[in-house]
Each structure stands twice: as C-alpha cells, then as structure tokens.
Symmetry: C2
Amino acid sequence: MEKSKKKFPVLEIFGPTVQGEGMVIGQKTMFVRTAGCDYSCSWCDSAFTWDGSAKDEIKRMTAEEIYEELITTGKDLFNHVTISGGNPALLKSLSELVDLLHNKGIKVALETQGSIWQDWFMEIDDLTLSPKPPSSGMKPNMGILDDIVHKLNDGSNDFSIKVVIFDLLDLSFAEDLHQRYPGVPFYLQVGNDQVNEEKDEQLIPDLISRYEWLIDQVMENNKLNQVRVLPQLHTYVWGNKRGV
Amino acid sequence: MEKSKKKFPVLEIFGPTVQGEGMVIGQKTMFVRTAGCDYSCSWCDSAFTWDGSAKDEIKRMTAEEIYEELITTGKDLFNHVTISGGNPALLKSLSELVDLLHNKGIKVALETQGSIWQDWFMEIDDLTLSPKPPSSGMKPNMGILDDIVHKLNDGSNDFSIKVVIFDLLDLSFAEDLHQRYPGVPFYLQVGNDQVNEEKDEQLIPDLISRYEWLIDQVMENNKLNQVRVLPQLHTYVWGNKRGV
C-alpha cells in the first residue's frame, strides 16, 4: 500500500489494556482515540476530545505514524486495536488506518454513536453503535441510524448496539431501539455520572450499586429479554483515570 | 415432542439474572444447576453440587417439569437458559431438555469442563468448555478435550474455552491450551479464592485487585494477545450469595 499524506487528529494512543465495555468486553486491545465530535453529551467521559480542554495535546498523524506509535507503545503485545473518540466516523479517510492494520494482521474495533455513515464501517471487525439516550441532551437522527443498521445488516460484519443508561427515560429509549432493530445484538451499559470523581473508594461502590439497579430494571422488563447488561469494567479497576 | 419419563437431578432453578462470566457475560438468563460432578476442584464455588452438603435439596425432574419450573419462576421474562453444574455433561439424555427449550424458542447455554462428550453439545447455542488448571487439583484428559474441540470446530455452534486463573502455573496451563486450540475464542477468568467470605466489603476489593493482577499478567505476555480477561461480575454485585 502506498503511504498516504492524510493526517488524522489523535489525542491518545495507549495499551495494551482490556476493553472495558460492550461486545468484546475483556478483549486485550490497544486504543487510538481521535479528537473531535459532532455531539456534546452532558455526561461524556471523554469530553476532552471535543471541549477544547486538550486541544494542545492533539497530534496530526498519518496512518503510518499511528501504526508506528502503536508498535512503539504496544510492542508485540497486541493484535487488536480499538478506535474510539470523540467520533472517529467524522474521519472520511480513516479506511487508510483500518486497511493498514488489517494488512499487519491486526483486528479493528470501532465505537461511534451512529450519526454519520462511512463506507469503511464495513471493514470493521467489531463495530459498536452507541446511539445517545435522552439524558445525554442529544437527539439521534433515526433516519441516519436506520440507514446505518440496514447497511451493516446487509454486510457480514459483527456489530452491536450499545446504549448507556442513566435513568428510566434512557431505558425507555433503549426499549424502543431494541424493538426497532430486533436482530441486532443489544447491550445496555451503566452510566457513570461521576466522571470527575477521583476517590475510587466512593466511585466504585456507587457504580456497582448503579449496575445492580440497571440489572433489576432489565430483569423485570419482558421487552428486554434478549439484552446483555454490562458495567464499564475499567472503572472498577482504574476509576476515572485516563490512558488505561 | 412426546413427554419423556427421564428424570434429571436438579439443585437450583433461578433467575432471570445476568450471566456473570464468559462468552455471554451480561446476558439475561435463567439458570438450571444440575447435581453431580466427575471432578472435585479444590476451589469449586458450587461444591454443594457434588460434596453431599445439599443432597437433600436435589430434585429429580423431567425436562417438562424443569421447563414448568422455569416458567413459574421466570414467567415471560426470559428467552435464554444456562445449564450449569456440577457437570451437566454427565447427563446423557439432557438433549430432551435442550430440545424442549429450543421448541419453545429459548436459547441454551452450557458450562462444562470438557471431560465428557455428549452429542447434544452440538445443539447448544453458547457452549463454554472450562478445562480445570493445576490449582484445581484436577488433571484434564487432553485426548478427550482434543476430541471435543475437534467435533465442535467441525460443527457450526458458538463455543469458547474459559480457564480460571489463580496463579502463574494456571496461567502457563492456559497459555499451552490457547496455543493448542488457536482458533477457539479464549477467556481467562479471575479465580475466587474466598468462596466462603460473606463480607462483601472485604471480598469485592480483593477480587478487583486480583482482576488487576490477571490483567497485568496477560498484558505483558505476547502469547496471550488474542484473549479476553474477565472477572465474575456477579460476585461484584452479590458477593458469594447463591441463587442470584
């Protein structure tokens, strides 16, 4: 493959660590976090990717440079990379990175809210769509989401929908979504409403009790029989720390 | 399907709850726990299934009776059932239960150590083989395990291998197993060495720090790049309680 000069805004490259959420929870992976988002969720746990607070940390890197930093950081200790953001779907040419990683024998996961389609979604090994529920303050465009789910359903890639739940309104949003896309693997995730809490001894018991609340809600709801209910495992181990 | 008179030894039917471990972690499911095991692992968290301590609780139930109790307990709140033990693979005719559940539109997961083959394994939707590592005091028969993995690989069902890790010897056992069956989805699970601890405020931080230890070990091991590392989520929520 010819080297491209196209540069992508990157905020963090770290790992290997475990994926703490969703469809490949527990997977050993490296993370590439891109800067920039078309959303501004009230409870975003990576607001530094779009609120300007980390703008001096953004590096503009080619796919080759990202791969080189992955190797410098992760050595021979990985063969899975998760691209997260922000919203990496803003980057039209990101297929260059996905292709390069695939050429090196590395699997690629992607996390995006499903507000923008990119053809390279079809190349992603583990694709998570996470439409944002009412508590985020955002309002998903259901037409665009329908189109994305339709295209992915026609393809053969592994994808899932993941909804973060803070309250009963969010749960009702998730219920509708699950009925709208009945065949799609569906994950509910405990919301973290204390993304700035640094004291793990306060944070973790609270997150566990929120997980128990969410389990209770789902167990008594016969419209949510097929779902998987998960916490963010990394918060149990590392609290709200970045880069782990 | 004609009703069978065949009876199975059942110790617990409970749920719906979340599957706390392995390949479908977080899945909303009912549990059917059968009595009896060909192993006696030193750290077994369900030793009551084989050590005689709960022998008066064993009910002998037909597949129909098990299904009826699932409905009485779980009402219309489930469409996934996990069969665990003990070792349910001891029960040659358990296909009667699996078929009945499938006929009702219910998916079936199974957990077994991989010491005995049954043809009905091919019907299981989510099959977990959990060969026991050295710390268990057991010694897996690798010929039997090879044969089981070979048959499942030829089938089209979703199966995975899960190894519980207490120490570095267990990790080395897991490493060998992962290399022996390179294409099989591979899960490492934190061992719980305090299955009788009732104080959650002692148990949970300790289990989380054991999870972090296991993550650290796997992250620095280039023979374990493809694995998933998970805790037993239910212990974070409910400690060592039974029936949740």
